[in-house]
């Protein structure tokens, strides 16, 4: 059905151009493409741009934290001009602007950058190739998914310029704060945020249905479940998380939208007083309800951010140590357990809400349980390295540094999972340090590893190794310098929400016990964040120059890999495979004793 429709589409374009060839026009090829590879690239480019944008938001915030009350160099005047005096008077970041940058940094990084780059870009490009499929099961849904995502991004971006500015109630948009921050404007940044989220949720719904159906239905001959590369398993579990965890947030988003636009009280309790005046609403709602619905998505979302990253790392590591993954099956079962357990841990984000100690105990227990499969996966990857003959290239360096970085991120999460220690650490910089270790040097490193690894398949050219290694070294060093000090700040009690970097509490007038040393760490973090930005310059140069001038890939399988995506022509044509692929063996047959070469591709009969 789909292919005949795309033919019809092609012929429509042809007739309008009056040509008889089978090439779709520019719009058909790049904007309204139904080819999973083009959609993957669309997702990749857009999400990397959003990633950079989110990074710039963070730089401005870090400047403010390091130099509270000082005008922001370079961009300060621009912010004042574009966003108005309320937001950045004299180029100085106002509290509202700080809050809206904070909320949007989180939203953009999670929903517009990391998830789309992992699931939308890598998932779209690589998954069908690895299972030997000609395309996704529903190519037009795939296209619609990207368009919804893009539209959601545009709405989010536009919200900066609305009167009152973008959403500024944190990326979690807790009610009633989210409903009362901007009472002057009914149709405020928060409303944009909600509309943007509904579009993004629609996009991920279409994407996840498509991924799961593709993996169930379009595996090629011989590609049994336990012959699927781990990356595909990770995408499969991620698909279920997105499919089932996002709808409750959509429901919550609709309710908050009603609260904002129609004055209902889903999340507004009785007797709510704002700035001394009772709010004219019926009340009777529950602020806790929002938190439950938000974190019902929010926690599985964490695994959406990490599982595909582990999938990429598994591919890159196995290829570059020339060894099969140790404990492939236990990794698969661990990923499935993570998927299941991630649905019953959400309230560990809510220990401080007064939901009760019995509930907290339940969620503390499940939280400790979910660390077991995570440790199984990480351990399996570490043990895989044992006795490997490791090739150190840009891709493998990023993948290998993922392991300890994700380890730090995961282990620092344990004190947050216990409610006794969480009561002290909650809402402090410790939390920021913890989840950024998971997502930034964790997931982001996997993304970079994936880019260096699959670049030759996508473009036919290699990325420059020297620039790649510079990028890796700089990123690894500065990432740690940015995020490690946050643990110290958190232990010393610094709140994550203060727009002045803690000067109020840790400055010269601070009370007994406050250590002004945490303020100097703000300065250090700022300069390291600048360093981190500079470390990305080699990557950006490398990325664009290699598309046109990189070293040509000499074969279709330059890394001597085993999985099926390397059995396609470079770059893969529409329909991917020249002959019907067949999987004759497992995904990681490296260094098989007695084999001719140190790798035996899945599609090799002998």
């Amino acid at each position: 059905m789909q292919s005949s429709a795309s033919h019809a589409h092609t012929s429509a374009t042809e007739s309008s151009h009056g040509h008889a060839h089978h090439e779709p026009g520019f719009f058909g090829k790049y904007i309204f493409s139904t080819d999973h590879k083009v959609i993957g690239i669309q997702y990749g480019v857009s999400s990397l741009l959003f990633l950079l944008f989110g990074f710039f938001l963070m730089l401005v915030m870090r400047f403010q934290l390091a130099n509270p009350g000082k005008p922001i160099p370079i961009v300060g005047a621009l912010l004042e001009k574009v966003l108005g005096e309320d937001m950045a008077k004299g180029g100085i970041m106002g509290g509202d602007l700080y809050n809206s940058f904070g909320a949007m940094h989180g939203t953009i990084m999670v929903f517009l950058a990391i998830v789309p780059v992992l699931f939308g870009a890598f998932g779209n490009y690589v998954t069908p190739l690895q299972i030997g499929a000609p395309d996704m099961a529903f190519p037009r849904l795939n296209m619609a998914s990207f368009h919804c995502y893009f539209l959601g991004g545009v709405v989010m971006f536009a919200s900066f310029f609305t009167p009152g500015g973008a959403a500024r109630s944190g990326w979690t948009s807790y009610s009633p704060l989210a409903s009362i921050t901007d009472l002057a404007n009914r149709f405020d940044g928060q409303t944009y945020w909600l509309i943007g989220m509904v579009l993004l949720i629609t996009s991920s719904l279409l994407g996840s249905v498509n991924f799961i159906a593709t993996i169930i239905q379009l595996r090629c001959r011989g590609m049994s479940w336990m012959r699927m590369p781990f990356f595909v398993w990770a995408q499969f579990v991620t698909g279920f998380l997105l499919l089932l965890a996002f709808p409750p947030l959509e429901a919550a988003g609709l309710m908050q939208l009603m609260d904002n636009l129609f004055g209902s009280s889903f999340f507004l309790p009785q007797g709510l007083v704002v700035s001394g005046t009772p709010l004219p609403v019926s009340g009777g709602g529950s602020p806790l309800l929002w938190q439950h619905l938000f974190w019902f998505l929010g926690h599985p979302e964490v695994y959406v951010l990490i599982l595909p990253a582990i999938g990429i790392v598994a591919e890159v590591v196995s290829n570059n140590i020339r060894k099969p993954l140790w404990g492939y099956k236990s990794m698969v079962y661990a990923a499935m357990s993570i998927g299941f357990l991630s649905f019953i841990v959400w309230a560990h984000h809510m220990y401080l809400t007064g939901m009760g100690t019995k509930v907290a105990t339940f969620f503390q227990t499940t939280t400790m349980m979910i660390s077991i499969p995570s440790v199984i996966i990480l351990t399996a990857l570490f043990i895989s390295l044992w006795g490997g003959s490791i090739r150190f290239n840009s891709a493998s360096l990023f993948a290998l540094s993922f392991l300890p970085m994700f380890g730090i991120g995961g282990l620092t999460g344990l004190p947050l999972g216990f409610n006794a220690s969480d009561i002290f650490l909650h809402d402090s910089y410790y939390v920021i340090g913890h989840f950024h270790y998971v997502v930034a040097p964790g997931t982001m490193f996997a993304v970079f590893a994936g880019i260096y690894y699959w670049f030759p398949k996508i473009t036919g050219r290699h990325m420059n190794e020297l620039l790649g290694k510079l990028h890796w070294a700089g990123s690894l060093f500065f990432m740690n310098c940015v995020f490690a000090p946050m643990f110290i700040q958190g232990f010393k009690g610094m709140s994550r929400r203060m727009s002045d970097g803690g000067t109020t509490y840790f400055g010269p007038d601070a009370g007994i016990g406050a250590d002004p040393g945490v303020l100097s760490l703000n300065k250090m973090i700022f300069w390291c964040a600048i360093g981190l930005g500079i470390a990305q310059i080699p990557f950006i140069i490398n990325f664009f120059s290699s598309i046109f001038a990189g070293k040509r890939a000499t074969s279709d399988n330059p890394w001597q890999a085993t999985t099926l995506e390397w059995a396609t022509p470079t770059p893969p044509p529409h329909g991917n495979f020249l002959q019907e692929p067949v999987a004759y063996r497992g995904p990681y047959e490296y260094s098989v004793p007695g084999a001719k070469t140190d790798f035996t591709p899945q599609g090799d009969k002998n």
Binding site: S3, P134, I216, M258
Partner: protein, 283 residues
């Protein structure tokens, strides 16, 4: 290479792609409506004392029209039966009968939506009036000789507005009194007795809209979302009955699959209502 199993089932799963897709989509939909139902339960169970149900009014129980709701349930169940009969007619190679059943399905869908909008209209023009003596009445109101209607949804009356317009008296067509279970009290209540109420005696005035009580917020959100599903489903089924039916000639097998997938969605929409009706109307 072409995409396989677009309409032929894959041997090991026994399913064609679209069937896997629709089941996954329905799983997601269950989570969506599940979250809304859970929100309803949580809001109702955790409501402050005297708020839900309201002590002055036995509120908001019994406010929805159960006979109309029952009739609408019957309409939707009928359409669920006819959509299966339409699919079965195609399986028996009887296209004319398929079209008849499909048209009945779509007509039922629009009848459902029509009845629902009648109910909505009634709610938007229905007011709850809380009085200074702690009592409260509900009913249709008359201000300045005019009844507020559905189309002035954005032009609702409240106490401040009445004072602004220097209106001192409103008329309320009072609903029969109800006990705490929502049953109409038989003694001493006359249906639709008209009472004149001085604006000075009114504490608050609000129509049956989401802003007035979380019950209405829940009711309107779930039923509106369900209504959108009915509308979407009806449009797709109507497409299959007429312009999309060309496929019956070119690829009957795929056409039957489409009807099956559309029917699955339609049953889901029906099922949501089967839960919605008792939970919102009866409980």
């Amino acid at each position: 290479m072409e995409i396989p199993y677009t309409y032929k089932p894959r041997p090991d799963t026994g399913l064609y792609n679209a069937k896997v897709g629709i089941w996954l989509f329905l799983a997601s939909e269950i989570m969506l409506f599940g979250a809304l139902f859970s929100a309803y339960i949580l809001l109702r169970v955790s409501a402050p004392a005297g708020f839900w149900p309201d002590l002055a009014l036995a509120w908001p129980r019994g406010l929805l029209n159960i006979p109309i709701g029952t009739f609408n349930t019957a309409v939707l169940i009928t359409s669920s039966v006819t959509v299966v009969l339409a699919w079965a007619a195609l399986k028996m190679n009887n296209f004319a009968r398929f079209r008849v059943y499909m048209v009945i399905t779509v007509v039922c869908a629009f009848a459902f939506l029509g009845i629902k909008s009648f109910e909505y209209n009634d709610k938007f023009s229905h007011y709850v009036v809380r009085l200074k003596d702690g009592k409260a009445v509900t009913g249709h109101i008359e201000v300045d000789g005019k009844h507020p209607r559905f189309w002035n949804f954005n032009d609702q009356w409240d106490v401040a507005k009445l004072a602004d317009k220097k209106i001192t008296q409103i008329k309320v067509e009072v609903d029969p009194e109800r006990d705490i279970h929502g049953h109409v009290k038989s003694h001493g209540s006359h249906a639709h007795e008209v009472r004149e109420i001085a604006v000075a005696d009114i504490v608050s005035l609000g129509s049956y809209t989401p802003a007035t009580h979380p019950f209405f917020a829940v009711y309107f959100l779930i039923t509106a979302l369900h209504g959108l599903h009915v509308l979407g489903g009806a449009l797709v089924l109507a497409y299959f009955a007429f312009p999309g039916a060309k496929m019956w000639k070119s690829n009957p097998e795929q056409f039957i699959n489409r009807i099956e997938v559309g029917g699955l969605f339609w049953h889901f929409v029906d099922l949501v209502w089967i839960f919605l009706f008792p939970v919102v109307y009866l409980l």
